[in-house]
């Protein structure tokens, strides 16, 4: 278990700034996700960690050692790519064996390790198959086994689930988390899918335009977004005009209380749609003040609103984040 840290990392490509100045430290054994839209710099950060990009300034450290200039093949990290990274001319077993051969591990140990890893990802029977004979999900499992076979100090995952079907995605996602916590490998996971990040991370780093907007636990990031960007990117958000008329207040649908009482201090509006979704009902309200549509989540059964009803909306105290104009 080793720590991984980025200090003051800056990277530009021509005139584009991919990373402004990244400071990020992963504790030994934890899984940190870098979450953000395309172009936010998350993949660049990962590739700098792997050694495929050299930062303009800044330091990358693995444990106590500085590895900023270490060539990629000398860092002891495992990487899982988005797709098509298995060597097509080698069998599954030979793929998993690859890193071990490079480290000149002796044959008997290699074979048992390969078997172990394939069992770990539940593909024990498929050692003799070739990558093109496997499904996408199976290929990614092999990629994971291959990366972990050499017992890397850090595991890097570059959107490993993006190219897979939805069903396969959620199963594999949980498996990755299971394996990671079993082996206690420090892991950096890059994704643009917030559900993934929220589900498996110890901490999430939300990024935008080369900057780390917030670094915190999933609860922190969801319930206490540090910036309007984070509030908008993670989960759904309503944008309401601020009380004092300046700027906006960003509130989650479940942080708005809805009632049929009249009250001058609250926002009034008319219900336009009621959508039942099992445990939660979504009530869409057109607000008088500016004709805006607001979505409210209410526990089903707690309020009986119908289309056309007049209701009052209020923000739960302590929730929501203010965005200056």
């Amino acid at each position: 278990m080793t720590s991984l840290s980025f200090t003051g990392i800056r990277k530009t490509f021509g005139t584009t700034v991919a990373l402004e100045s990244l400071d990020l430290a992963l504790q030994p054994g934890e899984l940190v996700s870098l979450l953000g839209p395309s172009g936010c710099g998350k993949t660049t950060a990962l590739r700098i960690a792997a050694g495929f990009e050299i930062p303009d300034t800044g330091v990358v450290s693995l444990g106590e050692s500085v590895i900023t200039d270490t060539p990629a093949h000398r860092r002891n990290m495992g990487m899982v790519f988005q797709s098509y990274s298995l060597f097509p001319n080698l069998t599954v077993a030979q793929n998993v064996d690859f890193g071990l051969r490079n480290r000149k591990v002796e044959k008997a140990k290699r074979n048992s390790r390969v078997g172990e890893m394939l069992e770990l990802v539940q593909l024990g029977e498929l050692g003799k198959r070739y990558p093109h004979q496997l499904s996408g999900g199976q290929q990614q499992r092999v990629a994971l086994a291959r990366a972990l076979a050499v017992q890397p100090e850090v595991l890097l995952l570059d959107e490993p689930l993006s190219a897979l079907d939805a069903k396969v995605r959620s199963t594999l996602r949980d498996e990755i988390r299971r394996i990671q916590s079993e082996l206690k490998t420090t892991t950096l996971f890059v994704t643009h899918d917030q559900d993934e990040a929220l589900a498996i991370s110890d901490r999430i780093g939300v990024m935008s335009n080369g900057r780390l907007e917030q670094l915190g636990t999933p609860e922190d990031v969801y319930l206490r977004p540090a910036s309007p960007f984070v509030a908008r990117f993670v989960g759904s958000i309503n944008e309401l005009p601020n009380n004092n008329g300046v700027g906006k207040i960003l509130v989650r649908p479940e942080d708005i209380t809805i009632s049929e009482d009249e009250n001058e201090l609250t926002m009034r509006g008319t219900v336009t749609r009621v959508t039942f979704q099992g445990p939660v009902t979504i009530i869409s309200v057109r607000v008088d003040m500016n004709d805006q549509l607001v979505n409210v989540h209410a526990a089903s059964g707690s309020i009986h609103a119908q289309v056309g009803d007049r209701v009052s909306l209020d923000v739960t105290p302590g929730r929501g984040i203010i965005e200056a104009a």
């Binding site: 060539p71 990629a72 093949h73 495992g78 790519f81 098509y84 060597f87 001319n89 690859f98 490079n102």
Partner: protein, 314 residues
């Protein structure tokens, strides 16, 4: 808008068929009954064309080749075509074609790699592939003339080499001999190899290179265990293509030499001269043997290409 339900046979079905708009899709009955055979009908023009203008000439070659001296059916001409001086010719052609192919694979492969990985300047790759397109299809004449100008006895290149003290023609060198032919043929072999290899090199995904590095492999490891094995079918296929191309080239050879040890030239001598029926059959036999040899090479090339495509789809 496709018709999903099959209308019943009999009156209703007949009426349905009769009233269907004529420009619409074929009615489902026809679809099911004639689907397969009807589909192959569409290729008839193409097959007919190939039969008339490729197959019939080819078969005719064999028909003429299988004649004995007295004009009856027999294999004596075929046998003679690969013995004595004819055998010498085949061996000579094989030697320089293999040599030319080998040179083409090495330098063409290197050039393709250099062009594929060049990031600056941006236009470099396009120039290389456009020029390769021209040079690979360059008719024999301009090429022959160009090399006569460069490396002929009065050639400018020959003069330059003389200035450095190297007399090109001191030894066995002649444009019409092995070393000369290999040099000249490289001019279209290298570009042809580039054309065949560029797509293959593009097919080498960067993630393989990165995964290899990530797993502790150096550049050498990558090429030895991943890169070259994956490229191997394309490289071998390229060799076969270049070999076939070099063996059967006529126009260039014709301008450079009268050397009758080059099989295509030899064939044309047999065809053009004032000869008896028996010798005529030997000429056709030479062509027949050439077709057989090319057939084997191209069959192997085909198999290799299919193999390479399989990996690029994974």
């Amino acid at each position: 808008m496709a018709i999903v339900n099959i209308p019943p046979l009999g009156e209703e079905g007949a009426v349905a068929q009769a009233t269907a708009p004529s420009h619409f899709w074929r009615t489902p009955i026809d679809n099911i009954r004639n689907k397969k055979s009807l589909a192959w009908f569409g290729l008839v023009p193409f097959f007919l064309f190939l039969i008339l203008f490729l197959l019939i000439p080819a078969i005719s070659v064999f028909a003429q080749a299988l004649h004995d001296e007295d004009g009856s059916f027999g294999f004596s001409a075929m046998r003679e075509a690969i013995s004595g001086q004819n055998l010498d010719a085949f061996i000579f052609s094989l030697k320089f074609s293999a040599g030319a192919a080998f040179v083409g694979v090495i330098f063409g492969g290197l050039l393709a790699y250099a062009a594929a990985t060049a990031t600056r300047p941006r236009w470099l790759r396009n120039i290389v592939s456009s020029f390769s397109g021209v040079a690979a299809n360059m008719g024999g004449l301009p090429l022959a003339f160009a090399f006569l100008s460069l490396l002929g006895r009065q050639g400018l290149g020959t003069k330059i080499l003389n200035a450095f003290g190297w007399d090109l023609y001191a030894g066995d060198f002649k444009l019409g001999e092995v070393s000369g032919l290999i040099t000249v043929y490289s001019y279209f072999n290298i570009p042809l190899m580039v054309l065949v290899t560029l797509p293959a090199i593009d097919g080498l995904k960067t993630s393989w290179r990165e995964a290899c590095a990530n797993l502790g492999g150096s550049a050498w490891t990558y090429w030895r265990r991943v890169g070259l094995p994956i490229l191997a079918p394309s490289l071998l296929g390229g060799f076969l293509l270049l070999f076939a191309n070099s063996f059967s080239a006529y126009a260039t050879a014709r301008q450079l030499t009268d050397n009758s040890k080059i099989v295509p030239l030899r064939i044309s001598f047999f065809l053009g001269g004032d000869i008896s029926i028996g010798e005529d059959a030997v000429g056709y036999s030479l062509a027949a043997w050439m077709i057989i040899l090319m057939g084997i090479s191209m069959a192997a090339y085909w198999l290799l290409r299919r193999r390479a495509e399989r990996w690029s789809n994974s």
